[in-house]
């Protein structure tokens, strides 16, 4: 068998005539390098920031990082599962209240409550995904909404544990002796950076690629041993674990939890953040999504009457983009890897 019979085709011949627009599979190498450098620069700047700035900015940024994690949990679900959830505030609250309750009632610090929050998020993700594994699209979104709707009632009802309307405070340090603002900031930043690195690795993993195939062609995936139930349950467990992590970080960074931080609006805002970040799972996309949903409400608090209008507009945009499928998204630049 000689090699001449093998028609090795030049790359230029293989490129589709209509293929001038790069598909989202992999961005151009130059672009990827640029993105890596940009991310490194952002991390470097964020890492030295505490030495240069006041504690209010640090506090705001810590909340940004925590919200960016919540946005990532939704983006992962959209990208790898092809599904939309508007009830992720439930899983975020689960993580936040785990930290608060373990401290208040058991005197446990973050070293124990953070892993516990991750484990609880994982289990909650499984418990939601298993019965709903045959639902999709709008039905799944509505099922997730039910979770978010019942949450505040549940928190108020279980007042003995959750502190009811008032909520709970978190005051234990992660590392005693270090400034509070510093610990909160660096924990949130570290969690965000590590999650982004883990997600970048996940994209090339056996499980990540299997999920991407199952999302595009569930039947083809099934013919290669990737079942729909496996895909759905895996992606929900992963997404809920991330959401719960974001809640734990949020509780620590803001040192307080209360039911009105976890309303249906929070869930919708995570989705808005995910759409704004083009469902990307990169650091930059997460920071943009998390930044927008943290800062806009803060700065608009003084705008008073306009706030509901802006919320409504945001909701409208999400609905339009979600319903237009790939139609509208085609006009958006390539998704972040």
């Amino acid at each position: 068998m000689d090699s001449s019979r093998k028609q090795q085709v030049a790359v230029s011949e293989l490129v589709h005539p209509k293929g001038a627009i790069r598909s989202p599979a992999r961005p151009l190498p130059e672009l990827r390098n640029l993105r890596t450098w940009a991310s490194l620069l952002v991390v470097a700047v964020l890492a030295v920031l505490p030495a240069l700035s006041g504690s209010f900015l640090l506090y705001s940024l810590s909340l940004c990082f925590a919200n960016a994690l919540a946005v990532l949990s939704v983006s992962v679900l959209v990208r790898y599962g092809g599904e939309v959830s508007i009830g992720h505030s439930f899983f975020v609250a689960l993580g936040a209240y785990s930290v608060a309750i373990l401290e208040k009632h058991f005197g446990l610090g973050l070293w124990i409550s953070l892993p516990a929050a991750l484990a609880l998020g994982f289990v909650a993700g499984l418990l939601f995904a298993i019965p709903s594994r045959r639902m999709s699209g709008i039905y799944l979104a509505v099922a997730s909404m039910a979770l978010a709707l019942c949450l505040p009632e549940l928190l108020i009802h279980m007042e003995r544990w959750t502190g009811g309307f008032e909520g709970l405070y978190i005051s234990r340090d992660l590392v005693p002796g270090v400034s509070k603002a510093g610990q909160r900031y660096y924990l949130a930043l570290a969690a965000l950076v590590l999650v982004c690195l883990a997600l970048a690795h996940f994209r090339g993993s056996r499980q990540g690629m299997a999920l991407l195939l199952a999302r595009a062609h569930p039947r083809a995936a099934e013919a290669f041993g990737i079942t729909r139930s496996w895909a759905r349950i895996s992606i929900f467990a992963l997404s809920a674990t991330l959401a719960s992590l974001s809640g734990a970080v949020l509780a620590f960074a803001s040192s307080t939890v209360s039911p009105n931080s976890f309303t249906l609006w929070s869930g919708i805002f995570y989705l808005v953040g995910s759409v704004i970040g083009l469902q990307g799972t990169s650091l930059i996309a997460a920071l943009i999504g998390g930044g927008v949903i943290t800062l806009i409400p803060q700065y608009l608090a003084s705008a008073g009457d306009y706030v509901p209008i802006l919320y409504g507009a945001a909701l409208l945009i999400v609905t339009l983009v979600a319903n237009s499928g790939s139609g509208l998204r085609r006009f958006l630049p390539g998704k972040a890897a």
Binding site: L14, R219, A223
Partner: protein, 266 residues
């Protein structure tokens, strides 16, 4: 030698047998008492006009459709109660008539998904660059690259399917089916969308990957490919097997000439 990578670990005995398959959708009978005997080491062609039920028959064999009657067995194993994923686990793979590659993965990564069942790396390796997981990924990349090379499309490995012409996408699908050394390979119109050169290369590649343990079934409208490649041919018309035998015998069958070759002028 690249083809060594696609050679089987060892030949496996056992034919794929279908007996009395019936399939209907809301009263419309799509398959009517189909019997198949698909032998290892032989390339079986499945031909028939559009709508004859060829794709539906593949769907029954792979478990996507549940036949309304009849039985399917691979060797000693009855397949009737098994899910598509379980059948895949027994070494049954297929390509799809309509392209089924993920647009979010490169061609190489798409082929790597064909190895999912033979990969063992756990969830820790999915998120952390552990040595075991990396070695496995590199091995999968090597095998996927060998499969692409075998079909002559290694140059397209790092491009995404939407950037590729249909012929290359089609070959990529076949590479994905071949990469895990299947026991049964079902190809649904593999030459659709391929030009003459690509079809010739495909025919050669398929002949090259054929081995005594492999059951290969090809649904195809390209008669040159069918006649060159197949050892046996089944002719399906309106859900019924109307002829079965060697290419020469089938070509000479008056019934076949009438309903299929003559009418369609393939």
């Amino acid at each position: 030698m690249q083809s060594a990578n696609l050679a089987p670990p060892s030949p496996q005995p056992g034919a794929l047998i279908a007996h009395g398959l019936n399939l209907s959708f809301g009263g419309i009978e799509v398959l009517k008492g189909v019997d198949l005997d698909l032998r290892p080491g032989l390339v079986t062609g499945l031909i028939g006009p559009n709508g004859a039920g060829k794709t539906s028959l593949f769907n029954c064999l792979t478990g996507l459709y549940r036949p309304t009657a009849g039985r399917i067995a691979l060797g000693d194993t009855g397949l009737d109660a098994l899910s598509p994923a379980r059948r895949a686990g027994l070494g049954m793979v297929r390509s799809f008539q309509h392209m089924a590659l993920s647009p979010d993965l490169t061609l190489l990564e798409n082929v790597m998904t064909g190895l999912t069942l033979s990969r063992r790396s756990g969830w820790a390796s999915a998120f952390l660059p552990l040595p075991g997981g990396r070695a496995e990924t590199q091995d999968a990349q090597r095998r996927a690259m060998a499969a692409l090379d075998e079909l002559g499309i290694a140059a397209a490995a790092h491009l995404a399917p939407p950037e590729l012409p249909p012929g290359t996408q089609r070959l990529g699908e076949i590479a994905r089916a071949l990469v895990a050394h299947p026991r049964v390979l079902l190809l649904d119109e593999p030459a659709a969308g391929l030009n003459a050169v690509e079809t010739r290369d495909l025919t050669r590649a398929l002949r090259r990957v054929m081995h005594p343990g492999l059951i290969m079934v090809v649904v195809e409208h390209d008669m040159d490919l069918i006649m060159q490649l197949c050892d046996r041919i089944y002719v399906l018309n309106f859900g019924k097997v109307i002829a079965c035998g060697s290419p020469a015998a089938v070509q000479a069958d008056p019934e076949v000439l009438r309903v299929y070759l003559g009418a369609d002028d393939e």
